[in-house]
């Protein structure tokens, strides 16, 4: 035994304190299991520290600045001055409160917290190295492990995140100044959210995307609303081009070089280039093979519907266990993992996992699209309510977008919804509830919704699907 290597035992060992891991740890402790949570960096994981929360803080702040400066129609004349460092400080304050809260919750629930980096020694032991060299390590014997190590932004050849002018999404959320010219590589949801933030903070933004449109998985009419608005904000799009590299430009800035599939090259001047082409699982360095757990080619851990890996007592939750890489999916998986270990009949049997994109306007989706439902063999009923027909939407000054609800035509069961428009991320929750409860179009339509609110659009869409909408023409 190495000096400073002490050995302890635990019933449940959770590796990673993100929204999958800390939720799993708290629930396991609630179930009376002796639980140890190992985190190498910061409680709350990427979500709280480098993802969801900081990005939403900046989206709100930049949106507010932009709104204030563009509200002449409402009789407001202003030219807001943005102090980015103060904005970042405020953002950090939010993050700190939340991460501090997570730590307190873990402790209050009796979770043992250990800081360090865990590696599997065998299928019942990890060694946790504390901090840097010489700070010692300890072995922990566990009966069950939950791997919740999350994901990190993917690098692409030619763009090293170590370079000052090459940003990962995480660096873009901690910027010291607003670049004059920003090239965003990748038109997925992270790229689009951050492109919007910097466009609203008056950067000249160019989005370079290999595909022919932004936001790949979404339906065309949904994308269209976001893209139109982005173009209105001055964001330039270059589709069909892949980022190939960069070079120094004479003016102290850089040139981002792109290439089409056919080999045509272009270059765009930039002060910063944000690479947002996806996230990859963090499984390297865990020595999972010592526990008998294999990863896929891309590094994910495959799990069953009770979050178990091929080794029954080793679970994996969150981004590390594959799509959907969403914080709320991770939390659900964490709960199922803990309850499964506690011997309860938990399983990932939710009908739908909602997703939100915080672009301008927002996108919220849950369950099936019209095409999904048809493919699944349903006779599909679809209803829509455009926000331009919503009184409340008009009073917010944002009438782009629509609510679309998808249902089974025979029995009326709600199967899914796509919302693009103001507060879409909030509106989608109602439809998620409807899907989980097996509610029908009539249930949604007959539920009285507050006037004047955006949520009325959900009710109207349900009515429209039944051919009974009041405020839109029924199709």
């Amino acid at each position: 035994m190495v000096v400073g290597d002490i050995s302890t035992g635990t019933e449940v060992l959770v590796i990673g304190a993100g929204p999958g891991g800390y939720v799993a740890a708290i629930r396991a402790a609630q179930k009376g299991l002796d639980t140890t949570l190992v985190e190498k960096d910061a409680y709350g994981g990427a979500c709280l520290n480098r993802g969801c929360i900081p990005s939403k803080a900046l989206i709100t702040a930049s949106g507010l600045a932009h709104e204030a400066g563009t509200a002449e129609d409402m009789g407001i004349h202003a030219d807001p001055a943005v102090d980015l460092s103060r904005m970042m400080e405020w953002k950090r304050g939010v993050v700190d409160r939340l991460t501090g809260g997570v730590e307190k919750l873990c402790k209050a629930n009796g979770v043992n917290l250990i800081e360090g980096t865990a590696r599997f020694v065998d299928d019942h032991t990890v060694r946790v190295a504390h901090g840097g060299d010489g700070q010692g390590s300890e072995s922990i014997e566990f009966e069950h492990a939950i791997v919740a190590t999350g994901s990190r932004p993917v690098e692409i050849p030619g763009f090293d995140f170590a370079e000052d002018h090459v940003w990962s999404s995480e660096a873009a959320l901690a910027a010291e100044s607003v670049p004059d010219r920003l090239v965003v590589v990748g038109g997925g949801y992270i790229g689009m959210e951050l492109a919007t933030v910097y466009a609203k903070l008056d950067a000249e933004v160019t989005v370079v995307e290999m595909l022919e449109d932004i936001l790949d998985p979404y339906e065309d009419d949904v994308k269209r609303v976001v893209r139109d608005r982005a173009e209105e904000l001055g964001i330039e799009f270059r589709f069909g081009e892949g980022a190939a590299g960069w070079s120094e430009a004479g003016d102290g800035g850089h040139l981002v070089h792109t290439e089409t599939e056919a080999g045509e090259e272009s270059s765009y001047p930039a002060d910063r280039v944000l690479v947002a082409v996806g996230r990859e699982p963090v499984t390297g360095g865990l020595d999972l093979e010592n526990a008998g757990v294999e990863t896929t080619e891309r590094g994910f851990i495959e799990t069953d519907d009770r979050t178990r890996s091929a080794v029954d007592h080793v679970h994996a939750v969150g981004d590390v266990s594959g799509e959907p890489m969403l914080a709320h999916a991770a939390s659900k998986e964490g709960i199922v993992a803990a309850e499964t270990i506690a011997g309860e009949p938990a399983a990932l049997d939710q009908q739908a996992i909602p997703a939100a994109v915080f672009t301008d306007p927002e996108i919220g989706t849950v369950g099936m699209t019209e095409a999904d439902a048809a493919e699944a063999g349903f006779d599909v009923a679809v209803g829509e309510m455009p926000f331009r027909a919503s009184g409340r939407a008009m009073t917010t000054g944002h009438t782009d977008g629509f609510v679309r609800i998808v249902a089974d035509a025979d029995e009326g069961f709600v199967l899914g919804a796509q919302v693009v428009g103001p507060e879409a991320s909030e509106l989608i929750a109602e439809v998620g509830l409807a899907i989980e409860l097996g509610a029908t179009l009539e249930d949604v339509a007959a539920t009285v919704h507050t006037h004047p609110t955006l949520s009325e659009a959900v009710m109207e869409a349900a009515e429209n699907a039944q051919g009974q909408a009041i405020h839109t023409l029924n199709r």
Partner: protein
Amino acid sequence: MTVEEFRLPDVGEGVAEGELVAWLVEPGDRVEEDQPVAEVETDKALVEVPSSYDGVVEELFVAEGEVVPVGDVIISFRVDGDEKSIDADEADGPDGEPVVKDADEVDSGAADSTTKRAFAPPSVRRLARELGVDLGAVAGSGPGGRVSERDVREHAETTGSGNGAVDADDGNSSGPRPVDVGSDERRSAVKKRDSGAGSDGRASTSGPEPADRDRTLATPATRKFARELGVDVDEVPTDETREGEAFVHEDHVRAYVEASTGVKAGTDAATGTESGVGGSDVGVETDPTPADPATDAPTSTADTVSADADVADGSEAGSVDGDAAGDADGTAAETIPYRGVRRTIGERMERSKFTAPHVTHHDTAEVDDLVAARERLKPKATEAGVTLTYLPFVMKAVLAGLREYPILNSELREEEEEIVLKEEYHFGVAVATDAGLMVPVIENVDEKGLFELAAEVSDLAERARDRSITPAELRGGTFTLTNFGAIGGEYATPIINYPETAVLGLGAIEKRPVVRERSGEDGFLGDDASHEVVPASTLPLSLSIDHRVVDGAVAARFANVVMDHLEDPLLLLNE
């Protein structure tokens, strides 16, 4: 060689479950395709279920007397060769259809209920996992078939969760997989925490040899049950397997503990949760002979017990429930399963009586001439090989009435807001059978002669009694006759065979006193003296109508027409 599972096919229109009355094969038997393997009683008829495979019976998953939802696995076959290794779901096609005569009317869409998306809220889905219930097989009572918590509980109770365990392991991704409680260390820790009575006592007696498996399949409820008794499921001997893995259910655990300790460990009630939840493994719910009050008691209290136990999870609920069982010992009453034909009758009656406002019109026909007519025709009928009862005459008289008042040969369709006057005259005839009331239908009464009707009635009645009648022969009536008088009685208030509009009940034809005008006298004697009471053959009639569709006056006029034809059978020549 592959093992193929066979699910209970859809055995008739709208039939969601059937009682497995008898197995016709045993494990190890060689069967040929289409050979009947089981008799299943639905709420409509008794049908034989044929095998879809050539092969050897591997396992029977359902006990005789158990009620099985359509789509549940009932039997598996070891099939030779590849050509027959069709997917179990495909087996629900034409091959899987039951032997009923109107095969064309059988819904061959069959048992895809298990693959259909089940609409149920998360709390209900969790309960289904807990009880080992396949949600797809549960008939939801909510709008559009949405499944409620009660539906799941009832399903678990009527099927017994032995089925659930099968479903759980047949690859259904939403079903539960047995929870492996974990490493050896953990198991020993769990044992230490438990009372110790089970494990210690067992160790010191010469019980059965503990099995020593590394891995055991069991439902979570069984594992919990085992934990409560301090038993390691890996040690419990079992001869059952699922997917090649040893499978343990509560019976095994209990038997093992009892054999090991000599103590009747874990009475049913001591594990209240299990009785209500997974514990229907025990089979008490489906035992058709509720002879043992000790095992029977929890059945009736299962709901409340499990509800309490859920709340009190982790407390020493065992002893409390044990007392409850003691109380129940002496008071267990005989219970009769409310299922199959009995329940169908109940549901139909409930629907009719609570939907259609009934009015019953009573009158009496004087049928001396009818009695004479039948006497005259009887020898002819006998020659023709037919037993001539009064029923064919009554059918013809009713036919006359319906022709004049077609509103009584109708159906109210509430949703369409219309009353459909039927063009056919298909008469249901109520038949008392050992299993309960059945109503076979004689079609096109207007096109058939008296003898023909007589022959058909007796044929259908007989086949209703021996249960060989087909579902199609019980459908499609437009008007119903019930001859309760065959057993005795004068008047009744028959319940309409919904959605028909009217039903005519016939009392016994007997000599009864009737008042007639004194013949050969003139009117000088006054009212009383001008009439006399004489014996006459009378037929009491009880006509119930759906008052939504037709009013009492029309019913009375209809009855008058029927009576005219019964009192003067010559009029029947016209029909």
